[in-house]
Assembly symmetry: D2
Homo-oligomer: 371 residues x 4
């Protein structure tokens, strides 16, 4: 007897430029990707990952152009597209495309712990004066619960990663809001951090990691003791609301993919990530061998410069460098730390981990093929 089950499929594909969607187009042409089942597309694009990073919008526009041959506009806008700019060091630009299939399964119980489950939600647009403030925190918390319901994940401990794309302030938007006195900050680069932080606190609130009583506008971007162990937030100029993608484990889903997560305590703290590999039977010693590496479908992690100015007692210079944003420094370094463990550089390292893991650290999720 067979039953109807959902199954997540994840494709990690290269891009030669922000507008290069050919790898996706090829898999659609070959039938390996069904456009109608796409629920989310993440992109690691090669901009600076900061305020004036137009590679994110360019990549989204290019994806929409490609998909417009297969899907209508409304359906395309239901796909959660999160572009994270910044491929510092040897990081390699790539797409991570998520499909949610529905199929009759002869043996749904093959993995009693269930399988990778996906859920998405898009919030309403924010006013510029709401960005980086409690209004954003609460809208995200509600969105996380909506996405969990959609994914069929009942327990918060089964949520392993929440990827959010959120807006930022620009000089134009600050003016539109009525100027400096109206917005959380007039520093556009800093607005990216406040927006990421407010989104992360929304995840922490939804997952019961913090209580509403601990929250205030003043705490956002300031009280580093408040954080989520599973939030990953990325800010971009090309939207004014939040796009939420939840990844977890659910018995309503089948298939070979599973997800686990860990929290890096600082930029050097790779052993917890090695622990996730071990939970999948990998990474006993040194770097993954090619066979093990092939089982890693995707690695997603947040990186940031510790506000303390130190890592394990040694001073870093990331916060005092006026030539390169600290987010760029942190992505390149953490990419190296995890690349040395996994053995390749197609890693989704996203900068700016405000309230995403402890100061200087960040959440890391690994999607693994169990077959």
């Amino acid at each position: 007897m067979t039953v109807q089950m959902r199954e997540a499929r994840v494709h990690r594909l290269p891009m030669s430029a922000p507008n290069d969607t050919s790898a996706i187009a090829n898999l659609i042409a070959s039938g390996e990707i069904d456009p109608g089942s796409i629920v989310a597309i993440l992109g690691k694009s090669e901009g600076n990952g900061c305020v004036n990073d137009f590679t994110r919008g360019y990549a989204v526009q290019s994806l929409e152009l490609l998909l417009s041959s297969y899907l209508d506009t409304a359906r395309i806008h239901n796909i959660c597209m999160v572009m994270s700019g910044g491929t510092e060091g040897a990081l390699s630009p790539h797409w991570i495309l998520f499909e949610a299939m529905s199929a009759m399964k002869a043996n749904p119980a093959r993995f009693p712990e269930g399988a990778l489950a996906l859920g998405t939600h898009v919030t309403d647009d924010f006013a510029p004066e709401e960005i980086g403030r409690l209004a954003q925190v609460e809208a995200v918390a509600a969105g996380v619960h909506a996405a969990m319901a959609q994914a069929g994940i009942a327990r918060v401990e089964d949520v392993h990663f929440v990827q959010i794309k959120c807006p930022l302030l620009t000089a134009e938007r600050i003016r539109a809001a009525g100027g400096a006195s109206q917005v959380a900050t007039t520093d556009t680069l800093r607005s990216m951090g406040l927006s990421r932080g407010a989104s992360a606190l929304g995840v922490a609130l939804a997952l019961g990691e913090i209580s509403k009583a601990e929250l205030s506008n003043a705490a956002i971007g300031a009280d580093l003791s408040l954080f989520s162990t599973r939030a990953s937030c990325s800010a971009g100029v090309e939207l004014m609301g939040c796009e939420i993608l939840i990844m977890g484990m659910s018995s309503q889903w089948s298939g070979p993919l599973a997800i686990g997560h860990a929290v890096m305590g600082d930029a050097l703290d790779v052993d917890p990530v090695r622990g996730v590999l071990r939970s999948f039977g990998l990474g006993e010693n040194g770097q993954l061998d090619p066979a093990g590496r092939a089982r890693i479908t995707a690695l997603l992690v947040k990186a940031e410069a510790s506000k303390s100015g130190h890592v394990r007692g040694a001073r870093h210079t990331m916060l005092d460098d006026s030539d390169i944003s600290s987010t760029r420094h942190a992505r390149g370094f953490v990419a190296g730390a995890l690349g040395g463990l996994i053995g390749h550089s197609e890693l989704f390292v996203s900068g700016g981990a405000e309230h995403q893991g402890p100061d200087g650290g960040g959440p890391c999720a690994i999607i693994c093929d169990r077959t």
Copy 2:
């Protein structure tokens, strides 16, 4: 019966700015450092590591000011000072100070394989038109042999690392040379690479890694199949000759310190470095624990962006980034890869590995305390 032996001491010390020599001053004051026995001081300073990095000259000027209280000018100029700019990612600015002591030893044979041995040499200044060309290669090769003799190292296989500081071209120097037609390049940033490459080929020639017949001006910076497995070259605006520091093992030296080296094949290739740790009885699994970490006196490595544009088949963007020099990208990433292994970020990662290891890789040396 006791015998006269030499012994190398190595101090790794923090700096809070390029002119902060207080950590060295404190150890001189406490008697732990004898100014008269200093043979070399390396510095990882927080500039951009490129043409207009004045943190190197500032650090050297500050060291000379400190030492002028203890040594005369001629003696100070005999100390090999190699400042390498660029502390990308979590890299921590620091000094590595080398002393060569001479003492009566009761048990010089404690380590039959001998101990860390040091030798230095300074070449004559080059004319701007000689920089990055065969004249520089040959002057460096002769200098390496002179430094080996001084160190008491007879066999080239006992040389584990050769640190060289070499000059670069500036707009001023190109003009002084008579303009574009006279010099190896008019691109000042590129001149740093040609000078590093010519120095590295000088080491390879001296150590028998390549033959003179394989060399030509055209091959410098172009024929990536020619390289040294032990050269580390750093270019700076503040000198016009080459300063050479050799590190190896010699039975003429005693003490707890030993040195080993490996070659990273690419920016992700950390397992050979783990092999060096294992040769010292460390690093079986995962990251070094605090006890093991404390035994690592210094780690020196070269990093660069592979000219192929790929790492293990995945495209990197370091060579196409016009906002950040590829040398800065490479230092931050390799620092992460090795920091994840060692567990701290006071690593001497030097950018620009032309002819220093294979394309995209680089030599790595570790000085370990065997006690």
Copy 3:
């Protein structure tokens, strides 16, 4: 009695981001722009203007999306789109849209000297190994003559500006060509300069400013005595051929617009540009007043750092700055010099003036409304 005449119309319009084509869309909706008569669109977009500036491709893709509602693909590809990245200093991102209308004129002789005339041509794609070499020079020279014929400009002295968009080399393209030995340079940023220079020499050859005998591959990017006084070349990753737009004066064209040009001898040499203003009856003293400013439809100029390393005997640091490309420095400075004269910052200042004017200087054209 009336006669059939052509008339050029030029619209200078703001953009709030590389994909903001709303100002153009609004004028199409109001009937002030006829999509069918558009011959060229220049864009000053806010990227770094260097190798990894994707704002150019994003702007072009956005223009094509807009125009696809009005024109078929073949017609859109006949429109010469030249995006120049880099809005340093107070430079303001903007579009300059050129229309060629055809109309019955009652009084075509109103301006006996004729009026602004336009012509365009697109060359075939180049192979990567042709970029920055004589093959590119010759293809551009032929293209300039084709564009003059199309514009109805018989005498080379009536050509006042030639805007060219040309390709560059990337790590990918160098590999495709078979590697370092095949291409003019492996330095991707430098390839932009060689491509601009080869294009400019093609203009100089076509306009009789230099002779074929003076040309060689070695002279490209090296012999600064060879230059055009009217070429403006901009390199971008998004094409592999050259797009040519010619601007001049012709009695076959009517209307209020006229064009004049001058050559800046160095980055401070604004008085020749003041001379062009005076030829239009403007700019006697100080900065243009609002009435005079309103008559300046467009200003186009090239800027570069002098390879001599000096401006009027004073050292500049643009060529030794490894944090900011010299092209970015030069655009911001020349924009200030000419902005102080004109009184606004919507200036089409394009970086990299290899063989476009003398070393450190560049051609400047002004389109003025004579009514």
Copy 4:
């Protein structure tokens, strides 16, 4: 009958690097500069002008090394040394050395309006938590009055320029102060702006341009309607107090030098500066000719990106550029605007004009030789 008068001498001298003091050394050797009469040395050094600009400290250390051959340490520390980093565009690194001589004058009344007068003052060091706050404003105001008295300037309208060097916050200093809750900001780059702003408001208070009642910690960096027309403040990591140099006109001083000032209303507003030139009988039309140029001993000006995001209605991108600090953009652009007027690029353009002139503009002073 002769009387004792003071006379100011000003030397503008080139530097080939931050440590190049040879031009000063040569004039000391030739007797043209008397080390004992030096009251101030300004330097335009070639760093990024932001937090991690060590060219300022390097230049100061180099000046101290030079002067230590002629003056004792206490006397050297009485010399006001203000290094301003950032030589964007064609700006040329240079020193401006001020001497105050005392001599018997036969005809002190030659210039009835008097002559350039100089005064200096150094405040006590601030605690990190005082930087950018009212404590700094009040200390500077008291210091300005002390410097006026020293200069023999009785009327505030005779003060034409007040150059101040002030401190900034670094990650280290914020930690020393007890963390984020104690200091005005945790953003080190932003701390430079608050420190400059507090210093400028101190000048405005001292010169009666604003009243104490208008001031508050909240207004610093926020209320752009409060500004001085004569303050020029530059922040650097190498000090913790404020160094103040006053320039004005006084009948107690003689000699050929005079000073005048104007305020630029925005980055394009060069005509008020032309007005100052006209007050000296220069600059009727176009750019100064070589004879007029030779009479301009020094030009000092502040530049900044308008917080409005616009210049004369046209959007600029300086505040949204995460690759280049807006202070670097603004210096290069304003340098071009004034360089086009004066005709050379040895201009002391200092970035960050918070409360120094209106939003987007800045004070400009010109020292002219009247002979």
